[in-house]
Symmetry: C2
DNA sequence: GCCAAGTTTGGCATTTTTGTCAAGTATTGG
DNA sequence: CCAATACTTGACAAAAATGCCAAACTTGGC
């Protein structure tokens, strides 16, 4: 299982989720798409900060967006996020011999 | 699928792999365990730097270690790493409609 | 066209992460 | 016990990430 991606690209993708606000955002997007201001109410902070988080995750490839009037709707691109997070869950709950 | 872990803990786990050297290290550990100096020959840089990367990943829960004479052998704790990386692979190869 | 709402971008100070050197701790072989 | 090998820890400078403000941009309604 050798990656076709450069290490740098893999790191970019992983790093895109390695932040509390960004993690909360993708978790919110599992359910359904959201506009930037909706996501702001979830994660708090400045709207411009939220926008930058979204840009970073979009460039990494986790999400994409579509204009919908004045709003921009962001949504998850890949359905594998839950499996990704399940692995994180296994690590965090100390299942050393997990058979995930 | 609501996490039992705090966001902070999840981020700590993800962040532990969000670095080129650390990613190369865990990928090397998929095959078999390695000592710190073996890992140094793979990722380069100072031995103390490698040691610190290992400490960070151990605290996150990805790896553990055992003393073996003068050497310290590090190994992966969880077998789910390949699935984790496969998700990264899917994102990076732009399979927007991936069914992973 | 003009204004307001929603979003993005630029600039910059603050914080966090990183990497190296030096010093410290263990363990083994002689 | 001594010295060498393997690793860890502390301190600190350099680099990267973060967050906020202000300004710019875009779209829809009047």
């Amino acid at each position: 299982m050798i990656s076709t991606l450069s290490t740098h690209k893999q790191v970019q993708i992983i790093k895109a989720l390695a932040h509390p606000a960004r993690l909360e955002i993708v978790q919110a997007l599992v359910t359904r798409e959201h506009s930037v201001s909706e996501l702001q109410t979830i994660v708090g902070g400045d709207l411009s900060t939220v926008s930058k988080h979204l840009t970073q995750m979009r460039k990494a490839g986790w999400i994409d967006c579509k204009k919908h009037g004045q709003h921009v709707h962001y949504r998850l691109v890949c359905k594998c996020l839950p499996e990704f997070l399940e692995c994180v869950e296994n690590i965090g709950t100390n299942r050393s011999t997990c058979d995930c």
